[in-house]
Amino acid sequence: MSDFEPKVVAFVCNWCTYAGADLTGTSRIKYASNVRIIRFPCTGRIDFMLLLKAFANGADGIIVSGCHPNDCHYTSGNFHAKRRWIMFKELMDFMGIDMNRITFSWVSAAEGAKWADVVNTTVTRIRELGPYVSYKELVNKSVEEEVKNE
């Protein structure tokens, strides 16, 4: 598995984590290049379905990150997001979907170093876990079902 490069998608809010990742850049802190950031105005905007879509389209890991509680640019978007993730995580666990592949974090605009750390820890963990084979198999199995009669 040495040539395995995990695909990690990061869903981040504009005001804290995106800015924090900017700070990582201006501070020239190096981190794993496996992550791709998708910008949202607020963690409250992040639809849980997008996380599923990321796995469905081949992501091996996911990062969701926004403002610390009480620091939301919109006052409460992250609080709503927090409840959403609590429910989502419990449901995913119940269905046997691997929550070790999703990192939820709060990274503020001042935490450039934390962002690098969150990415590196996640990428390292996903490297250890390997590609998300069982989910990919689930998606492929669905394709097989379609062609079963061909």
């Binding site: 389209n57 079902e145 379609e146 062609v147 079963k148 009669n149 061909e150």
Partner: protein, 336 residues
């Protein structure tokens, strides 16, 4: 071809099954751990049930899969390439132990899929299908084949029809060349008929479908539809379990530069089914959708396809979460 009657012992049936299963895709009913009767490809003969009244889902998927890819495409910078499905790859399928109602449904589906243009996907699958039917020695309160012109041992749609004999062996009616082809695989398994009586269940006739069709011609505006569909919750279960419902939806699914066009089952019970882009919906409420379902099967199809759109299997009623009983309603319609 002229029908021939043979007798086949229980043990010979197993031999025949194993012979077929070794060389072909055989689709046969089994009883799942949750007691649902489902069809599986090539299960062990020991698993195959001869004692079921009806499977949860019909077997129409062998000719009309719940999802069928129509073609694949790939988008380059300026042009797209389309890859067709190779219909010759469609395998021969032997349907095993399906009841006369389900077998009669294939002809109805054929009349739909070849009504104006010939649907090549359906036709190819139908061409590759061999049906070894099984007459019903069991039935329940939902069965009404006798009301739609069939019987528990109708041979319609079967290539070979098995019927249980009183001694536990089976009578085999060889009805078509396809059926004959099966017999020739191992003719010694088929013995001359012994004179034993076949065991066939009795299904009470609940309505006269011809009279229903006549009544429906003038029943479009009747209060009946509203009054009798209030409890319908508008799920698609009846259409999806139905052996003759043939509506489908066509979708494109693109991921990156690649994609495919497929069709999948649809149901006239859904509100979205007739929703126009403008926002207008000609079948705005559930009573109109329920009326459509019955009208289509018992009025429009007799007129257009010269056949009923129903085989009396009773799945739509037994599977309905709110007990919409189609036979009961047709009986009532006959008397309005």
């Amino acid at each position: 071809m002229e029908t021939t009657r043979k007798s086949i012992r229980k043990q010979s049936l197993e031999k025949l099954y194993n012979l077929l299963s070794a060389s072909r895709k055989v689709y046969a009913p089994v009883i799942a751990p949750d007691k649902q009767v489902e069809y599986k490809y090539n299960p062990d003969f020991a698993e195959v049930t001869f004692e079921h009244i009806r499977s949860t889902l019909s077997v129409k998927n062998v000719v009309f899969p719940k999802v069928e890819n129509l073609f694949f495409y790939s988008n380059a910078k300026t042009e797209s390439t389309i890859t067709d499905i190779d219909l010759n790859k469609i395998p021969e399928i032997v349907l095993w132990g399906t009841h006369p109602c389900d077998n009669a449904a294939f002809d109805i589906l054929r009349s739909i899929f070849s009504w104006d243009i010939n649907d090549e996907f359906f036709s190819k699958r139908f061409e590759k299908l061999v049906v070894i039917g099984l007459s019903c020695h069991l039935s329940d309160e939902y069965c009404f084949c006798t009301s739609v012109g069939l019987t528990p041992n109708s041979a319609k749609g079967s290539d070979i029809l098995l019927s249980r004999l009183q001694n536990g062996d089976y009578q085999a009616e060889i009805l078509t060349e396809k059926g004959n082809g099966i017999v020739t695989l191992s003719p010694e398994l088929f013995e001359p008929i012994s004179g034993e009586e076949v065991t066939v269940t009795e299904v009470k006739q609940k309505f006269n479908h011809e009279q229903v069709t006549v009544k429906l011609a003038s029943a479009f505006e009747n209060r009946f539809w509203i009054e009798n569909s209030l409890r319908c919750i508008g799920c698609g279960a009846c259409a999806y379990v139905c052996p003759t419902c043939a509506c489908f939806d066509i979708q494109d699914e693109t991921k990156g530069k690649n994609g495919k066009r497929y069709r999948s089952w649809d149901s006239c019970g859904f509100g979205l089914f007739t929703l126009h882009t403008s926002g207008h919906n000609p079948r705005q409420v559930q009573s109109q959708r329920w009326r459509q379902r019955i009208m289509h099967k018992f009025s429009y199809m007799p007129e257009r396809n010269e056949s009923l759109g129903c085989v009396g299997c009773g799945r739509c009623s037994s599977g309905c979460p709110v007990d919409m009983n189609i036979a009961e309603q047709l009986e009532a319609l006959q008397n309005i």
